[in-house]
């Protein structure tokens, strides 16, 4: 009797356990299917969205390139005598405050080194600080510099200086296009208004910024003397590096 009852209970318990195991297995299977489906949707959605994002970041091959720029991809403005033994490359963003400081403290030294024929300066202006203004000033200023160089090559030097002298504060609306046109006129480029307001070289600004990033520029100002990086150099450090490069 006792054994019969207990075996009946054992059987009942066994059935119960089996049912629980089945429920568990069923739930596992269902969860697995849901997870698989979600994962598949995730892969597809992210894949498509990534293509959209890369499309937003690409520029058409037929986009306008300003003339009077040098280097592969027309990235740089070279100032000074081509026979100069040392090349100083300067990567700057017109919205970058440290670049403005660099222009104030080291700019004159760089200019005199250039005039003495010791160095040629390769300006590679880029635009990666659009988030620092409400109007993408970084891009608009670089486009304006390209317009000036394109139409009045000799005015670039003065315009470059004027842009840093008139640099708008961070997180402001930046300079309006009308002010950029005015500065360009003052530098000696009278006919760039439509180029500036129409952002003729906007795609080009994306290309040169991308090219600088690929060349290892992760911030501005980046200064290179014959290809060797100088981290935010003082006038003395720059002069010393130029002298060393001229000897070597």
């Amino acid at each position: 009797m006792t054994s019969g009852k207990s075996s009946r209970e054992q059987r009942a318990a066994k059935v119960k356990a089996q049912q629980a195991a089945m429920r568990k297995a069923e739930a596992r299977r269902r969860n697995g299917i849901i997870a698989g489906a979600v994962l598949a949707v995730l892969v597809v959605v992210i894949g498509v969205a990534a293509l959209v994002q890369s499309g937003r970041n690409s520029t058409s091959d037929t986009s306008a390139t300003p003339s009077n720029f040098s280097g592969p991809g027309s990235t740089s403005v070279v100032l000074g005598q081509s026979s100069a033994p040392v090349t100083v490359t300067v990567f700057e963003d017109f919205q970058c405050p440290i670049c403005q400081q660099f222009e104030t403290s080291v700019g004159p030294t760089l200019a005199s080194l250039r005039e003495s024929g010791k160095v040629k300066v390769e300006y590679r202006s880029i635009a990666f600080l659009d988030r620092m203004s409400s109007t993408e000033y970084s891009t608009r200023a670089l486009n304006a510099a390209a317009c000036v160089r394109d139409q009045a090559p000799d005015a670039f030097d003065k315009f470059h200086t004027a842009l840093f002298a008139n640099q708008p504060p961070e997180n402001s609306a930046g300079l309006p296009d009308s002010k950029l046109v005015e500065l360009a006129k003052g530098a000696g480029a009278p006919d760039v208004a439509s180029c500036i307001t129409g952002q003729t070289f906007k795609d080009w600004t994306v290309k040169v910024t991308d090219a600088a990033s690929k060349d290892g520029v992760n911030g501005t100002p980046t200064v290179r003397v014959n290809g060797t990086d100088l981290v935010n150099p003082s006038a003395e450090q720059l002069t010393a590096a130029v002298d060393k490069a001229a000897k070597g």
């Binding site: 629980a20 429920r23 979600v38 995730l42």
Partner: protein, 212 residues
Amino acid sequence: MRLETLLTGGLVVLAIAAMAFVAGVPRGRVTGGRLWFATACRLVLAGYLGVAGLLKLPDPAESVRAVRAYRILPEAVVPTVGYVLPLLEVAVAVLLLVGLTTRLAAALTSLLMVAFVIGIASVAARGISIDCGCFGGGGDVAEGATHYTQEIIRDVCLLVLALLLVYRPSSRLALDPTQDTDDLDLDVPDLDDDPTDSATTTGTITTQENPS
């Protein structure tokens, strides 16, 4: 900066609470408190990932440059990672927000956090000064202007919360149908385990055995 410190402080408290839940709550005891705590973990993770992803989406080029600034990945994969990472963050944030496939979403979050910690620790160890680009931005910053320690603490705390959800994904306010099947069934195999329940069973057997 002050806000970030405050948020990270809150995260540390939450992560400690998460570890206490794992260590202190006996297995099988599914309390409402634990389910609500899991919901809080989900929402905090969703908040961080969602904000981080959404801030990066408007400027894919910047996102690519931020990845490049770590100087870890080969150039061939840098753009892909730059495009995919913000999207993955947003997608996982949505899953966590609604509580769909919580365990999968939490596992992906854990992988992301491990990758972020390795990345930040790596640039710190190499003496490179960058903005982590965690919430947009990125690129080099002046020496001494980095926040590596705080960033690593934050990501480790987020990792702890994510791992808790991998371990126990059930939570309140979730779309997941797992609530009553997944770890409730795993942890409470049968009602017979309940001491009060087995006492009555024994009682019945005793009374039935007496006549025979």
